[in-house]
């Protein structure tokens, strides 16, 4: 209880330090690195195993490595944003992939689990990048700035290839299982509304709460092929992803702003 009151007092003191009747000059340029959580609002699934080879349904901590908003007019401006998903989602998909492969093949074949960076094409792609431009309209209300936006950009979603040579139990036979795709990355158009609320600590610095709701086409394709290495006979199955993905993101940012100096 004592700690609670001490924290409250410290927050109050901080607020009094930074507050005041000062009038803030509107930002003309805003830099905003931040961190948030990226969450798909729906799932596009075609095959449990190939679902792990694409980051289409990935969720996790997203780093907004770069964001710069420029306001040529006091209210109207645009923002360039660059955001990436952390690599931890690759580890989770890799574990799920190994479990599903073991369940599917383990009874009849010896399956060796793979690590995220072990394959003949590319590692489990996890760094889903989103880059684009938004049109912003800024409402300055003293310390608080409300910025609704509309975003247009590109999201790059990784796709992995895998191949496994598996020995059949109680047999000399060997089976080659391949999951192949034409592209390591898919660049998809992404768009949607977003909003930021900035609390200005002083003339230059502030903190922001950001939220967005984007959508993009769910495009991916894989080919599964099983080849009996003795007879060389093979069976192929295509898996094509389609539909629309909806993604939400909520995060916090540190704002560094520059204002026009009064003459």
């Amino acid at each position: 209880m004592r700690r609670y009151f001490v924290c409250l007092l410290m927050l109050q003191a901080a607020y009094l330090t930074v507050s005041g009747q000062k009038k803030f000059r509107p930002y003309r340029i805003m830099f905003k690195p931040g961190v948030g959580y990226d969450l798909p609002l729906n799932t596009v699934s075609v095959n449990e195993i190939t679902d792990q080879l694409t980051d289409m349904n990935g969720r996790g901590i997203a780093f907004q490595m770069f964001s710069i908003g420029i306001y040529p007019r006091e209210r109207l401006g645009f923002e360039l944003m660059f955001r990436g998903l952390s690599e931890r989602s690759a580890g989770k998909r890799n574990d799920a992939y190994n479990r599903l492969m073991q369940e599917r093949w383990g009874a009849a074949y010896f399956y060796d689990p793979v690590t995220p960076y072990e394959d003949y094409g590319a590692p489990f792609e996890s760094n889903r990048f989103t880059v684009g431009l938004s049109v912003n309209y800024k409402f300055d209300r003293g310390r608080i700035i409300y910025i609704p936006k509309y975003f247009f950009g590109v999201v790059e979603i990784g796709q992995s290839r895998r191949f496994h040579t598996m020995k059949q139990r109680n047999s000399n036979n060997m089976l080659l299982v391949e999951y192949d795709t034409e592209k390591y990355y898919r660049d998809l158009f992404i768009t949607g509304p977003a909003a930021s609320v900035v609390y200005r600590l002083n003339q230059t610095f502030g903190v922001s709460l950001d939220a967005s709701l984007f959508w993009h086409r769910a495009r991916a394709s894989f080919r599964e092929r099983h080849t009996d290495l003795f007879t060389r006979q093979h069976v192929e199955t295509p898996y094509n992803y389609s539909g629309t993905m909806f993604r939400g993101n909520i995060g916090l940012g540190l704002v560094v702003g520059m204002s026009k100096r009064r003459r």
């Binding site: 010896f110 109680n170 047999s171 060997m174 003795f230």
Partner: protein, 203 residues
């Protein structure tokens, strides 16, 4: 005169190339010879993740294999130098040749697996069933004859090692039973190495 100069330059190109790629600091390697002398056979059980020597003479016929071990020995002879101008070690990488090298005096020119009892209705005792066996390497099953197309190995200072081939029975007989096999290895100098396996029950 110009023509003579061009001809002289062309004739000297191989010499210059050899000098260019020679490493002055490399010692001449000692070239020795080895010969193929013995043949040993073991039954393999490939039921598991990799083939092992069968602990008992009962193996699933779909998982049966034959380990063919060709023993090699060094000879008293040295191999003659083959470099035309200068020792052909490569200067740019300064990768000198191994100081001691064992080259083959003879090579394997033929390899057969003969069944000593009736294998199936089409292969009575004494039949050549080599084609029923394959080697697996580099994601591909190859005929035993495929080994013959590869160059015989050159060993270095670690010494001469045995040549080991794991021949897997890819087309077993339909019925189970007891079997024995004889392997015949033809060598380039006219010798034939041959030996027989013990009895194995293919389940």
């Amino acid at each position: 005169m110009t023509k003579i100069k061009k001809i002289l330059i062309l004739l000297l190109v191989p010499l210059f190339a050899d000098i260019f790629t020679s490493c002055c600091n490399c010692e001449d390697p000692e070239l020795l010879l080895y010969t193929n002398t013995t043949l040993e056979l073991q039954h393999l059980n490939n039921s598991g993740q990799s083939a092992i020597v069968a602990p008992e003479n009962k193996v699933l016929k779909e998982a049966y294999g034959l380990r063919i071990r060709i023993g090699c020995e060094t000879t008293a002879c040295n191999r003659g130098r083959t470099s035309f101008f200068i020792n052909p070690a490569y200067a740019f990488s300064c990768g000198c040749e191994a100081p001691i090298q064992y080259h083959p005096k003879d090579s394997v020119t033929g390899l057969k697996v003969i069944t000593l009892n009736d294998f199936d209705a089409l292969h009575p005792a004494g039949s050549d069933i080599t084609a029923r066996f394959k080697m697996f390497s580099g994601y591909v099953f190859t005929d035993l004859a495929g080994y013959l197309e590869s160059k015989p190995p050159v060993f270095n200072a670690h010494g001469v090692k045995n040549i080991v081939l794991d021949a897997l029975l890819m087309e077993p007989a339909a019925q189970t039973g007891n079997h024995r096999f004889r392997v015949e290895v033809d060598l380039s100098d006219g010798r034939v190495l041959e030996t027989e396996t013990s009895m194995v029950e293919l389940l």
